[in-house]
Symmetry: C2
Subunit: 474 residues, 2 copies
């Protein structure tokens, strides 16, 4: 790290730790040079870097200020009101359409949950893997241990300390992405026709897993800032034979909230009373805008009741297909499912990622991505407020790169997506996130990309299509 | 390729095509030099190479001869006599023991079905993947199409022409290994508690998938040379509500047989009459010692009734975790299962393998491996006949690298394995291949490695342990 990068990094950390608050004036260049014992030009370079990275802004004739984050959107979505009866999940056709939609380069994809894959901080990982391919020898081509590579499980155990979990590497099983972790966990704790309670709206991959495994979904009202309603869940559990709870409590997809710690604890107590497992999807946890990241439910679990599922698909890259599950007391069932479903997890990327983490590359990358997504969230919310119809409700994500938008009028976002596609923009229609086709007037947009004219234009295109449809209604 | 290698290669091909038969005298060095228009020393070098590779042997004062292949073993195993009632699969503990057994370098692993991973013909694949990691850019890091990479599906469709299948790339879905193909297929055509008919002995991964998905196995008597008994299967289907048939008809694991074409056709007719799908595991098909390889059952299927499952785990390397399924009429169900279980198949290795096949590297590698395994089969059979007790029955594999051995006395091979492990050799106990713990006096050995003193010694160690146990019996 160059000297000016070190100085910049020190300031960045203080901003992250809220030592310097949003909008606050920062030390002058001269003061910076004095406290850090560097030259004036190094101090200047440090501020320039921080400006590039979007941490600070310079105000002419005044100095440097911590960037003022967007305030929460004017109007958040309402508490969701799903069916509250166990139902068979539908919407597979709609999910399939999204998954198989054209991905040509000229389409701005606001639909898929794909992280920034061009980040320079990923390059060292690619280099490590390239070298492994060249010099790794036969062992890198063989089946990996059923539980996963030792070196990677060790590093994952270390990463999980950040979320408050103290796990032994042997408590962790690596998987082909978080999706395998979720479906193996579901299979491990349920039988055909069982009822699984979920937050709502909910990640469509989880809902479809519930469907494909012959289970029923029980959707629970969910608050856009605090997550699943514990009261509603308790009522539902009194009424229905719930066999498991599947939620994404930290940096939720699609709503972006992080459940308050106290809610997480209450949820755990509730399931303890009913002796029910929680499948906790933590895939966006490391992308929380706050540092240190929020604790997982798993971190409070003393009974081995929580199956924590995650992956590197959002923090690094989904094409690697490396995830993990910490299945607590269900380890034997999960291991059996993992074996019969994929036998073992790809060998080389496990070793590559382990090395990348060990070298400090993961932490560096995550720090950059957090800051980047945090910034583009604010820009994105600004655009949606500016271009979408009055009365549009917008989520206020606490991490990750996904925004949930609820339109004021009864517009079908499946049709909206067909229209925007013609204009080179894809969105994720709200119905995908419901077991029964609700949220028809909602959509999910990603803000992975650095804000650009192209992306602002894409939002304008969506807005234009909305206007078209509104005027056709009246 | 050097000149002498070219000449050697030409002869190798003629041997492979049976133009020169086993035991036949080959052209003299002088004749070779004349027909190929090369120097005497080049012709000599060519023969030396062929000798090294085990294709030819020189007999002093007489010349060069095509190596005489081992005749079929003295005694083949009997037709198997499994339970013939639908049962819950047991033996998970035993499988887990095998999967988690120590894999330190000083153990000769005769237990696992791992191909030769040090072959020089794999090097170009590693180079391609190394370059992709370096220069592939962001797209190589993203989710691949749900069906799999177009380029790879095209190449797989081409490869499958060798087995008599004419498929469109869109008829193929790539998977995380053959194991995912098998379990997705099983889930696609069955419901909890359904009965699945299998050959017996059977690959333990399939049996455990049947168990984990809540299905029952119906094991059908199987002949060590012709495979599943069609008569016994028909009787069983009259008696039980069989919902699917899962078999490995070509280069079977563990028995090594290839079902005669006519049996494959009769099996297909039978299932057509009962309107039942066949899950055909073809993972060792390309490693058949005959060239061209035998046709798959799928190649005769005009009704979309066969779900063909395969992977590159035995032909290239298992750590890549790239397989595929051609699910016929069950494509929608399989695609749904594939999505919820792993979402998508690792991106980079799909592109790497596609490029490797396109460059001709796959064919080159397979040709070498076929010849190599063919040769070590014969050496291995020779060793087992020499060192194991009289009356030992041995399979006669028609492809792949796995041998099935049935001991004449009632020795428990689970215990045998514990003893051989102490002497640095692992074997696969027969009970793993049965749903109900049969084949206790059988074992599976691999002959992946080039025959060496070390491996001969390993077989001697196993033989010694057998003798120990026999003498303790009496
Ligand atoms: C909440 C959530 N869980 C799981 C997944 C699947 O992750 P992976 O690609 O690691 O299987 C996703 C991907 O979109 C997701 O958003
Ligand atoms: C007959 C058979 N089918 C399937 C598999 C699993 O293959 P993969 O490693 O591609 O999942 C194996 C591996 O041993 C096998 O022998």
């Amino acid at each position: 790290m160059k000297l000016y990068e070190k100085v910049a990094h020190a300031i960045e950390e203080r901003i992250e730790q809220s030592f310097y608050q949003a909008g606050e004036k920062l030390p002058s260049i001269r003061a910076l040079s004095l406290t850090h014992e560097v030259s004036i030009s190094t101090a200047q370079e440090a501020y320039r870097l921080l400006e590039d990275q979007g941490w600070v802004e310079s105000r002419p004739k005044s100095g440097f200020y911590v960037v003022n984050r967007q305030k929460a959107p004017q109007q958040l979505p309402d508490l969701s009101r799903p069916t509250q009866t166990p139902i068979e999940v539908s919407q597979w056709e709609e999910v399939l359409n999204l998954l198989c939609a054209s991905t040509t380069a000229d389409i701005v994809q606001l639909s898929r949950a794909i992280p920034d894959l061009e980040a320079p901080t990923l390059k060292p990982l690619m280099r490590i893997m390239s070298d492994l391919n060249k010099h790794g020898g036969g062992s890198i081509l063989s089946y990996e241990d059923l539980r996963g590579a030792d070196c990677l499980r060790l590093q994952i155990a270390r990463l999980m300390v950040d979320s408050g979990c103290r796990l032994h590497p042997d408590d962790i099983i690596t998987t082909a992405g978080c999706q395998e972790a979720l479906s193996a966990s579901l299979r491990a704790v349920t039988q055909q026709d069982d009822v699984v309670a979920v937050d709502s709206p909910s990640f469509y991959g989880s809902l479809q897993a519930i469907k494909a495994l012959g289970l029923k979904a029980l959707e629970i009202p969910t608050h856009p800032e605090t997550g699943i309603s514990i009261e509603a869940l308790e009522l539902a559990m009194e009424q229905w034979p719930v066999k498991a709870i599947l939620i994404t409590p930290t940096c939720n997809n699609p709503l972006g909230y992080t459940m308050p710690v106290e809610h997480k604890q209450r949820l755990l107590e509730l399931t303890s009373r009913y002796d029910i497992p929680i499948i906790e999807d933590d895939i966006y946890g490391d992308l929380s805008y706050t540092s240190p990241r929020p604790p997982s439910i798993k971190s409070f679990d003393t009974e081995g009741r929580v199956l924590l599922c995650s992956s590197f698909s959002k923090s690094l890259a989904p094409g690697l297909r490396i995830g993990w599950v910490a299945p607590g007391r269900y380890v034997n069932q999960v291991m059996h499912m993992k074996y019969v479903v994929t036998a073992s997890t790809p060998t080389l990327p496990q070793h590559g990622i382990a090395e990348f983490i060990a070298q400090g590359g993961y932490e560096r990358h995550i720090r950059k991505m957090r800051a980047k997504y945090h910034q583009s969230r604010d820009v994105m919310i600004g655009w949606v407020e500016k271009y979408f119809p009055k009365g549009t409700k917008i989520s206020y994500p606490q991490g990750g790169f996904l925004l949930w938008v609820e339109l004021p009028t009864d517009i079908d976002t499946v049709e909206l997506n067909q229209r925007t596609m013609k204009r080179g923009v894809s969105i994720a229609p709200g119905v995908l996130f419901s077991a029964s086709g609700k949220y028809r007037n909602c959509m999910r947009l990603n803000f992975t990309d650095k804000p650009s004219e192209k992306n602002e234009n894409a939002i304008k295109q969506v807005a234009t299509c909305i206007q078209e449809m509104v005027s056709e209604l009246t």
